[in-house]
Amino acid sequence: MTVMKYGQAIDAALGEAMARDDRVVTWGEDVRLIHRDLLARFGPDRVSDTSISESAFLYAGVGAAMGGLRPVVEIMLIDFLAVAWSAIANAASKYRDFSGGSWEVPLVVRAGCGGWYGDGGQHEQTLWGQLSAYPNINVVCPSTPADAAGLMLAAVESDEVVVFLEHQLLSEQWMDYLAGGRRPTVSFAHLVPPDGAEGDVPLPLEPLPLGRAALRRQGSDVVLVSLGVGAHRCLEAAQVLAESGIEASVLDLRSVYPLDTDALLDQARGTGRLVVVDEDYVRGGLSGEIAARLLEAGVAPKYARVAVEGTIPFAPHLEYAALPNAERIVTAVKALE
């Protein structure tokens, strides 16, 4: 067991995967500087900077994966993946099926996602709902360093496409790079969940199977379902609810796809109330998918969702109000009776 920061844990896991398997390489914008420790360990042949050409270098990742490598292609922020959407929508998700199941695409797409640090509507999206809509695409977003390491190792070892989303608010690398974390005049301490940004990581590093939710808190009255920073916001809300005598479970999905339906059903049956807390758009995404899974299984708990309903505003107080904060979660739970 050792204490690691979130970004450090991801790089440690990627380093471990690169050490175990020569076919693992990584490329993306500025990766040699941002992940300079991986560069120092493995050299520039395996850690490559790209031009600002997302559509080309992500599609190239698909080609390289099918050519025998196990590329970890970094899209700086998931918002920028929209520039390269065809590589997901038409290629990475399709080629296994087009080959009649005979050709795997062992690609990892690594990207920052998420908000709370004041970067506006083009740099703070998560897009995990849309990404998980396509066949053969797995989507994960860890909420702790331990999960981050385990999921990265599993992602690289998987023969399938995995979109590995690292939440920017939890990542010391992204907070330093994007949020001007070094400004002594700004503190993010009240926004960054401490257990998410830094924590124990079990050694030796082991892969954490995709699609297994973690129960972060046990309660009998309601289950709060989320992932990434949302899982921490749920824990904050659960503490507040406990003061009013409402005991909440908190289920951290860790993966948007595969979705741990068994854990969802279990909790929904046990508590009879379920609130999805989703740092993605309310339409066409995870919250609707969860509702559908419950109904398909004949389970109909009281249900609510706290999600992003429009463009994430830039002004910090508007941004905070637009994201699924603890106050919104508490209000939604109380409205369920």
């Binding site: 040699r32 120092a40 360990r41 520039v83 505003p313 002004a315 910090p316």
Partner: protein, 355 residues
Amino acid sequence: MGVPPGFDAASAYRAMVRMRLTEEALVQAWADGLVPGEYHSGIGEEGINAGVLAHLDGRDSMALDHRNTSPLIGRGTDLTSLMLEVMGSEDGLNRGRAGHMHLMDPGIPATADGIVGSSGPLAVGQAIANGRLHPGRIAVAFHGEGAMNQGMLMESYSMAVAWNLPVLFVCKDNKWSITTYSAEVTGGDLVERARSFGLAVEKVGGDRVEDVHRAAGRLIARARRGRGPGFLHAGCHRPGGHFEGDPIVRLLRNPRGQAEEWGPPLIQSARTKSGGNRSDHVAAVTVLTKRGARAARDYAVRARMDPVRHGRRLLEPSAAERIEATERLEVEQAMTEARAAIGPRATFGATGGTR
């Protein structure tokens, strides 16, 4: 070369001073914790902005990138309103919804977008609309050299030529793609690339506003007459780095401090047994030191390319001083007003805003 016909050194200098002072005021506001998120300043691009903007009339369109503050100011966007937006106020230009990367001024009309390369296709669309609705108006796309590796920008060059659109693509070449040296990740020569698309091409030093003015004037006049799109390549310098807090600028400003922070984990990584061989480690060190050396050299050499200082030399000192005094007063007033509206801000989040 001399001064081109129609070039007014005083108004060019006034525009550049206004841009520089506003950028400096916003950089300071960022350092003081009043600007959320990132801030990409346009310091070093004033010669390009002022030289191009001088040819635009009241309703020509602009598609801007992440360094959009200066072109907006040059077209007359209200200073206080812009500052409030960048600081995240609901009283700002875009009601606090945009922030500095996505400023929108329909009155110009001008859009700004943080997705690299998107200004190209947006300007193409603006030109199509102008062609149908406002013949004679042109559209200008501002982008960097890094953006020229983005597919949509190259596609928009081709489209502009094929459709013979009144567009000017302005490439502000500061040699850096975010924090990667552009030449390391770029194939071919950018000016030749633009020419091969069929664009009319001019190449200038962006620190010389009169040269930018001359070259932009030729391309804009051509486009306005319906003779097709142009491409202006202008070299420049970004003394503030990609954005405020840029790690490479940190390295240059405080080499020892940064080395103390980056060094030990780098050495530990290189020594990890399960890793590359010796030549990999040597190559890695070469990559990093080369980048640092390039940055140091660029910053030393290009620091002399200050467009504002050059523009000042085109004027009598007393005339320059008068311009500086009036612009400083206006910018300071706007910033004082904006800071008063924002109030102290030590944090972001629920309590981090105004109204």
